[in-house]
Symmetry: C2
Subunit: 325 residues, 2 copies
């Protein structure tokens, strides 16, 4: 059962040294929530520490307060409380875990349906499309005024996790949260430019590469592109650059599923699949390759060469499309 916002707030009120954390390979929701919550705790006079296995990513340096987020130290530290945000299972905190001494109260606030409730106090709301929305509702419930810096972080959290208010789960509560955050001082045009219009040039090169190599199969209903180890080397792309590239293929008229094949060392291929039709469940297809995810967005790591994995996977996707109800 979920703790109430009042219980969470009461539990934190008598704690002094508090750690705020989120999952490794953090996205905007992970980092935005971490910073917004930490800023609030600081304003209460708490001693606040924010760690992430990957530290602060360059692409999120527009978040006010980003300088607070550091990688965890080698030597474990003691805390009165640990607040884990947007983190479904404890091990997704990565190197943060061994840096925390036993004895802290764990608070776990998240929107992932797969959250395994590892906290002493848990607040899990899978109906929220972003943990940022839950934090907005927490602040509203506790009648806590949101500062412009907190608002910018929560706005970025919600906007990035909903694909700018487009993904499933974006509902009236999401827009209510956005309304309140903008009223609290978010400059929408500026932060949108920071979030969506400040891509490294190498990402444009990657998109160009993807479009030039795009292949359509299954009567135009499946689109895919591949990235070899040599491509990665030549283009100098980072793992974070891949995000969203696949959407360009999925967005083509007639395409139902888009797949991205990325060659990995040791004869493996990372497969990312996206569907835009609920009748084509890419999670089911990925499960055939020991992967998983959601019905419209799933992935797998498959042993084998790029061409071979590609052929097998595309065949499975096309089979699924041809045989759906």
């Amino acid at each position: 059962m979920n703790a109430t916002f009042a219980e969470i707030s009461a539990a934190l009120s008598d704690k002094q040294r508090i750690l705020v954390v989120s999952h490794l390979r953090p996205d905007g929701d992970a980092l935005g929530c971490t910073i917004a919550f930490a800023l609030w705790l600081k304003s209460l006079g708490k001693e606040v520490v924010t760690w992430n296995e990957d530290g602060m990513l360059d692409k999120f340096r527009y978040l006010p307060g980003h300088e607070m987020v550091t990688t965890p130290p080698e030597e474990p530290q003691a805390f009165d409380a640990v607040v884990a945000l947007d983190n479904s299972v404890k091990k997704r905190l990565g190197t943060v875990i061994p840096a925390i001494k036993d004895g802290a109260l764990w608070i776990n606030i998240d929107h992932h349906v797969s959250n395994d409730r590892y906290g002493d106090l848990n607040y899990i709301d899978p109906s929220a499309p972003a943990t940022g929305q839950i934090l907005c509702e927490f602040f509203r419930d506790r009648q806590i005024a949101i500062t412009p810096d907190q608002a910018a972080n929560l706005y970025a959290a919600i906007s990035t996790d909903t694909g700018s208010f487009q993904y499933a789960g974006t509902g009236p509560r999401t827009f209510q949260a956005a309304m309140e955050l903008v009223a609290a001082g978010v400059n929408v045009a500026q932060i949108s430019r920071d979030m969506y219009e400040n891509q490294p040039r190498r990402r444009l090169e990657l998109l160009r590469h993807a479009l030039n190599g795009a292949e359509f199969s299954c009567e135009g209903r499946v689109a895919c592109f591949s990235l070899t180890l040599a491509d990665v080397d030549r283009l100098g792309v980072l793992p974070e650059d891949n995000e969203g590239i696949i959407d360009h293929l999925r967005s083509v008229e007639g395409v139902i599923a888009a797949v991205f094949f990325e060659e990995l060392p040791e004869a493996k291929v990372r497969v990312s699949a996206r569907s835009k039709d609920p009748s084509v469940d890419v999670c089911k297809i990925c499960a055939l390759f020991k992967g998983g995810g959601h019905p419209l967005a799933a992935g797998a790591r498959v042993r084998g060469g790029l061409e071979e994995v590609k052929e097998r996977f595309l065949e499975a996707v096309c089979h699924e499309i041809r045989n759906r109800n």
Copy 2:
């Protein structure tokens, strides 16, 4: 001075045959508002006609009620009232104008600051980022329940005109409107797929062409691409396909201004310029070439060959960037 919503509603109440129109080369705001308003008038038992010079565009066929929108007939018709939505100056109605007999009451509801108030009753609100937002506020003010079909049209109007809630002018009122529309029954994930993930394949070809031919100048602060008449012919692209292509260049880190040069017949070039920094006013630059627009988005039609116009325009942009404060 603006009429009140009450005055507009009262003026329409005793009219029976009503025409709803918007600007030629319609966007989502133009068509979404046209249909949403027409659906409301129909629900009151009015005889409603909706025309657009370009009729219904294929790419907006996801709008419920889209089949109502037709091109104007050759023979003029009489109306009790004409409601022009999202249309700044009368002549932007194009071939709709000669199809309307004199004698109608003109109502003009718009968000363009350049609106010249050509209506008998005018309601112009330049603080709204979309006319769809004004119509939401009209319905709220008049305590008119919005149906799911009307909501989908108004949601599309607002989302497309704000670049999915990203452009300047997107404020608390915009999110409040979205909240109410979603509560009224919009399926956000579905309509977002319809709006943003259903591009014709030729648009992907155009994007590929643009990325392959992209050029960066002025120390990476200016990006541009060109489209020759031969390219248009080879790629089979329509004017509406160009929309948004330039944003891919503008979104690159370090780029301040992006420019798109399109060769036109009769030795002219259509120039579209976008800035992401208010200190670089592309409207001012376009004015040097007898064009106009907004500080961050402007255009011009320039006499001359593609290469020559490109060189002159890029020089002007770079000069502006180097000499800004």
